[in-house]
Amino acid sequence: MIQAIMVFNNHGKPRLVRFYQRFPEEIQQQIVRETFHLVLKRDDNICNFLEGGSLIGGSDYKLIYRHYATLYFVFCVDSSESELGILDLIQVFVETLDKCFENVCELDLIFHMDKVHYILQEVVMGGMVLETNMNEIVAQIEAQNRLEKSEGGLSAAPARAVSAVKNINLPEIPRNINIGDLNIKVPNLSPFV
């Protein structure tokens, strides 16, 4: 099982942190820092595997990492995962990111961290590898993106207008009004008719 996935830059600033095993917030931060220091010490031409730091459980866990330009991608796994397999999984993940963002860079990870998480969710679910086929992952993400585009595009205009009207008419916004995603569901506009 994958215990944690961490992405940080060359200075140890976390860019993506996903734990599949529960650690308290502070410990999570410490683990990221510890991992960073463990990984930083290593040259590029040595092994991509190392034992997890003492916080994450010592030699029972392996850190498997890859270094791309400014970013380190580190997967922390237990003994039931194959090291080389995970190494290639990182490659798949990064290639998928690259496809989705068109020349992915560190800033993409900062400004679209939600999207990065969605991509990761399609690759790893609850600590288990869900999908390793890049085309499949991209297809899933694109399906989701279509949603967003449609909302931000034409179909979003009436929704915006509606919300403007509502803001004028009502002293307080009703909380549970469901608008948007017109092409997915029957729009829930009944309050206005």
């Binding site: 290593r42 290639d88 400004f111 939600d114 948007g180």
Partner: protein, 1138 residues
């Protein structure tokens, strides 16, 4: 800091500023790009402090936004993303958690997605807010929108409260049949999650897992493998039947039957292959039959793996692992060994690492592989990557033997000095200590290595290590002079270590030193105890030493004091520590003080060099008896142990409930205790105080710890001659190496050796010292190539031999067992015939016992089998001839009744001092009848069966068997069992019956089978009812005991019974109970009676009853929870019946 960080940080305010305007991510990026064009304005922003300020500012504005009622869900979505970012950086964003849940509940699809993501990142499984999410998840799981279902499944697999699983389980199970494969796949993984956190809740859907395994979509099948891998890891035997399926799947994958979509770098579904290989490895472990199923496909995988990409190596590695895990097959092992070579010799460091890992795994099965790759191993030992070194050391640890230990331990210590991680130190120190214990070549080396271990391992190592070390020193080995030398060496080395100024040793090391010095410094002549005491005193005064170590130190001083000439320092020490604030130290100081005053006593208490001798101590403190008695006389309260006080407290609480016997009984209990029990108990114990003393004095005895370090060390069979030499005379480590190498070089004739550079030579030196004793040759082959072939051959032939011998032994067993059954059969018939076949028979018996027969013996034995069987074949005809007349006039009418009675009377004549029931017939036919009676013995129920032969002919092999019944423990009483029953005779069988659980009534059933003369066998079944009363015996106790027992029982039952006129008086009712139920009347007080009985073997039941007009109030108590109910039922039956 790099430009990126600066840019990022300068961009942050821009990012955050848009919160208020409700900007979108796209806008953020747009503004960002414009900002990036400019040079960073504030250099100061790069500092950690500035960043914190900025984020805190942002957080407070976010807080205001999310809690404002006017915030739209869309804005909220933006806020959530920002909160996630802040939280990732380590800032507390807990105020937003509830809003994340709200967003997931109320938002539209996009907002919901962010809400779910935020929830799964913010919360954990036990978070209280998570319960608020359950309804949303249930709603979304029922949605018709695929995206919503997907999101719900994803969040379930990330975090879900365990106790709420039942709420969503049926919905998720339903999703296993969904038409979309992505839904099915996610549902499988969600179920996997449930299986991890609450395995018993998903037990019922194992069949559905199988369905998922057979799913038409490969992705769903792959997802189900996660579950199977986990379940098989826990219990491989339950899934052996699936081996075929897994093999078929793997075959299809390897054979390229999957769609091209699943290929990764033209390797078909590599991750799926890895998973399957792992499962097969687990299934085939130690199981030949299962392993045989997978040999083909493993071979195929090994063959197909063309090494063009990383991921093929991943598959290959798994394959090798599997091949070595399952039941071995020589061809596969050979191929796998070759593959390991590919890894080890690869220039890629990752592969090399995995190669070492594989070697570590297989080295115990095949040490020759290490020899093959010794040069690579040496290289890895000096590799700059610490993890490579560690893996290499792990490998070396597995191949350590008495000859290479010094080098290997030296390497390990070197690594130890470099590493700082605590778990690595603990791990390595443990390994070194274990190796040293097992293989240490000589005393000096042993002590030095242990010193290194203690000083490096310090206080993190396992406490067993110093304990074992001290025990080893104290107990020694067989050779007394050797022991003394070891101790002497230890003392000397510690004294020199303590002489070094300004060195800090770990506390544990100091403790070890102080114990050794205290115990054994008398062995050193020149070092007078005074000098040692001075040193210890100096340590004691050191502030950096923990109080625990100080106690060790002062104990050492105490031990040395009797041998010291002058006592100045000791007195000073006493003075200083009797006023110490540490109570423990003060106590030790006082002890020392008083002992010091009484030198005679001190010498007796602390004998020199006797740590292992047992001292006789009066542990019961019987010498205090007089003192105690005096105190008691003066009115002191007697001492009560803790449990007794507890008990009294309980019984005093009972005083408060107004039940009839609580008071009087507890009072009687008290009177028993108020006698000076303390003293009598004390003197009782003091009688055998010597024994208890023996057990308690020896503080260092660590029982149950295996002594590992023998004089010999561990010498495997294939040990070399060099090893012997090194072993025989302990020589310093360098010379050992040199000698090894010398010999190795002289024995090696390869011309290449001369041309090797100096560096190479050094490496080979190391190699030869490391791998000495591994191969079966007496020399160490440096190139390791000449002998690999022979190694392989040997290995192969060995495996074959094993298989062959296994087969032959199994056939031996088969033949033997068939022979023995044959001979048994022959034996029986032989017996009936009463012919003189004894000789042949004995031969047969012997034959069946002897399982290691050679073929020649087999042949000689065969005719012997034939002989008796021939005889038995002819037996019936012989028999028939003799008894022809008796045979035909078979009586068709049953035997006369008068006869039966006489039979019965003969039976009852048997002496029985116990009560028994009347004889009754349980079954009969025209030939035999079975009569039975019960004897109520004190300790069990004895059932006697008499089988009477009513016919006029003999019956053969009449036998009676009782079927095993639940609740009863039935044991047959041994008695002579005549195989032939003569006409009109009878035969007795006895069974003792015990009840295991109380119940009202049960049946004991069995059958009689017999053989008539005309050799048709018949069987007659019968059954007898046994009731609880058969197992109830009176319990003869006194009223006082009754009172004690009554209080100690927790299970009670009360019932009122109406009595008939005739028995309205107490005595008559009692009498009925006594007679019918076999209860013992303990006492009668007024209109109340006490009765006691026990259920065999020893479950007591107490009964109190009171007569009130015509109502009988019964009150039962017992240690068994169900017994009172049953006894009550019997009482009711008896009272109503009479």
């Amino acid at each position: 800091m790099s430009d990126i960080v600066e840019k990022t940080l300068t961009a942050l305010p821009g990012l955050f500023l848009q919160t208020q305007t409700g900007g979108e991510a796209a806008a953020a990026k747009a503004s960002l790009s414009s900002r990036l064009g400019r040079p960073p304005r504030h250099q100061s922003l790069t500092s950690k402090h500035e960043e914190e300020k900025l984020i805190q500012q942002e957080l407070s504005s976010l807080k205001a936004t999310v809690s404002a009622p006017t915030t739209t869900l869309k804005t909220m979505k933006e806020c959530m993303v920002r909160l996630i970012y802040c939280e990732m950086l380590g800032y507390d964003a807990s105020f937003g958690y509830i809003h994340a849940i709200k967003l997931a509940q109320q938002g539209n699809l996009l907002e919901k997605r962010v809400g779910y993501l935020a929830v799964s990142l913010f919360l954990h499984e036990n978070h209280e807010l998570l319960l608020l999410l359950v309804n949303t998840v249930v709603k979304d799981l029922q949605s018709t929108n695929l995206v919503e279902v997907c999101m719900a499944l994803t969040v379930v697999s990330q975090i879900f409260p365990r106790e709420m699983i039942p709420a969503v389980l049926p919905l998720i199970e339903e999703k296993l049949q969904h038409s979309k494969e992505i839904i099915r796949r996610k549902a499988v993984l969600a179920l996997y999650k449930f299986h991890v956190i609450a395995p018993n809740q998903v037990q019922h859907i194992h069949i559905k897992f199988r369905k998922a395994l057979c799913d038409r979509d490969v992705g769903v099948m792959a997802a189900s493998l996660h579950i199977y891998l986990r379940m098989i890891k826990k219990n491989s035997s339950g899934y052996k039947d699936l081996t075929g399926s897994f093999v078929t799947i793997l075959k299809q994958v390897v054979g390229g039957k999957l769609p091209v979509d699943f290929s990764y770098h033209s390797v078909p579904a590599p991750w799926l292959q890895i998973q399957l290989l792992r499962i097969l490895g687990l299934l085939g472990k130690d199981d030949q039959r299962t392993s045989e199923l997978m040999y083909d496909v493993l071979d195929e995988s090994l063959r197909r793996a063309e090494l063009n990409h990383n991921v093929t190596y991943a598959i290959l590695f798994e394959c090798v692992h599997t091949v070595y895990s399952i039941y071995p097959k020589s061809e596969l092992l050979e191929k796998a060994a070759k593959c390991i070579g590919k890894f080890v010799l690869s220039p890629k460091i990752n592969l090399k690492y995995l190669g070492l890992k594989a070697l570590t795994y297989v080295i115990q099965q095949d040490p020759s592989l290490a020899l093959q790759h010794q040069m690579t191993i040496i290289e890895c030992l000096d590799h700059p990557d610490p993890i490579m070194k560690r893996e290499t050391l792990e490998l070396l640890y597995r191949i350590t033997n008495a000859q290479n230990i010094t080098v290997i331990v030296q390497k390990m210590l070197e690594y130890l000095h470099q590493s700082k991680e605590e778990y690595i130190i603990v791990n390595l120190v443990g390994k070194i200590a274990e190796l040293v214990d097992t293989f240490a070549p000589d005393n000096a080396w042993f002590i030095q290595t242990m010193n290194a271990v203690f000083s490096v391992g310090g206080d993190v190592m396992h406490p067993d290590i110093p304990n074992n070390f001290l025990r080893l020193l104290a107990e020694g080995f067989d050779d007394e002079t050797e022991d003394q030398q070891l101790r002497l060496y230890a003392v000397k080395s510690y004294l020199t270590l303590l002489d070094v100024e300004n060195v800090f040793y770990p506390q544990r090391f100091l403790q070890v030193m102080s114990w050794v010095l205290g115990e054994y410094s008398c062995l050193v002549d020149k070092e007078t105890p005074d000098a040692v005491i001075t040193k210890l005193y100096k340590l004691l005064m050191n502030n950096s030493i923990s109080s625990e170590t100080k106690v060790w130190l002062i104990a050492a001083v105490t031990k040395l004091t009797p041998q010291a000439h002058s006592s100045n320092i000791v007195e000073r020490l006493i003075q200083e520590f009797t006023i110490s604030l540490d109570t423990c130290m003060r106590q030790h100081a006082f002890e020392l003080k008083y002992l010091h005053e009484n030198m005679e006593c001190m010498k007796r208490v602390l004998p020199v060099n006797k740590s292992c001798e047992d001292m006789v101590v009066d542990a019961s403190l019987s010498f205090l008896d007089g003192f105690v008695a005096e105190g008691l006389n003066q009115g002191a309260a007697p001492y009560k142990p803790h449990h007794q006080r507890q008990e009294e407290k309980l019984s005093q609480e009972k005083v408060l409930n107004f039940e009839p016997y609580g008071l009087s009984f507890s009072a009687s209990g008290f009177t028993g205790r108020q006698s000076p029990a303390g003293i009598s108990l004390g003197s009782d114990v003091s009688g055998n105080s010597a024994e208890t003393g023996l057990k308690e004095t020896n503080s260092l005895k660590l029982e149950g710890i295996k002594k590992l370090w023998g004089k010999e060390g561990y010498l495997p069979k294939k040990e070399s001659a060099i090893g012997d030499e090194a072993e025989a005379q302990p020589i310093p480590q360098e010379s050992v190496i040199m000698e090894n190498v010398d010999q190795a070089i002289t024995k090696k004739d390869q011309p290449q050796a001369h041309m090797q550079s100096k560096e190479e030579k050094e490496k080979q030196l190391l190699a030869s010292s490391l791998f000495v004793g591994l191969g079966s040759e007496s020399t160490v082959n440096l190139l390791g190539k000449a002998d690999t072939v022979s190694h392989k051959f040997r290995r192969k032939s060995k495996v074959k031999e094993i298989i062959k011998s296994g087969e032959t032994t199994s056939t031996h067993n088969m033949t033997c067992s068939s022979f023995s059954s044959l001979s048994n059969a022959a034996y029986e018939e032989d017996y009936y015939l009463d012919t003189s076949q004894d000789r042949g028979d004995k031969g047969l018996k012997k034959f069946s016992l002897n399982s290691e027969l050679l073929d020649s013996e087999l042949f000689t034995a065969l005719p012997m089998v034939k002989k008796p069987s021939n005889c038995s074949m002819s037996a019936p005809s012989l028999f028939a001839d003799n008894n022809l007349e008796i045979f035909y006039p078979f009586p068709s009418t049953p035997a006369p009744a008068a006869k039966e009675i006489s039979v019965a009377s003969s039976l009852s004549e048997e002496p029985t001092e116990h009560m028994h029931s009347d004889l009754m017939e349980v079954c009969s036919n025209e030939t035999i009848s079975v009569l039975s009676y019960k004897i109520w013995k004190d300790d069990c129920l004895l059932m006697v069966w008499s089988v009477a032969n009513k016919s006029h002919s003999e019956l053969k092999s009449a036998n009676l068997e009782i079927a095993p019944a639940e609740n009863f423990k039935i044991t047959e009483q041994p008695e002579c069992c005549l195989p032939v029953m003569e006409a009109e005779s009878m035969k007795n069988f006895q069974h003792s019956v015990q009840m295991e659980e109380p119940f009202t009534e049960g049946t004991v059933s069995g059958f009689v089978n017999y053989e008539m003369i005309d050799s048709h066998s018949a069987q007659l079944e019968f059954s007898v009812t046994v009731s609880l009363l058969d197992f109830i015996r009176p319990l003869k106790i006194s009223t006082e005991d009754f009172g004690k027992l009554w209080l100690s029982f927790a299970n009670d039952v009360k019932q009122n019974i109406k009595m008939s006129e005739s028995q309205a008086a107490l005595p008559s009712a009692l009498k009925t109970l006594q007679q019918k139920l076999r209860l013992h009347i303990v006492d009668i007080i007024g209109n109340e009676g006490l009765l006691a009985c026990q259920l065999l073997p020893s479950v007591p039941c107490l009964l109190h009853f009171r007569v009130h007009a015509d109502v009988l109030a019964l009150w039962f108590r017992s240690s068994c929870s169900t017994l009172p109910d049953y006894v009550l039922y019997q009482c009711q039956k008896v009272m109503e019946g009479s």
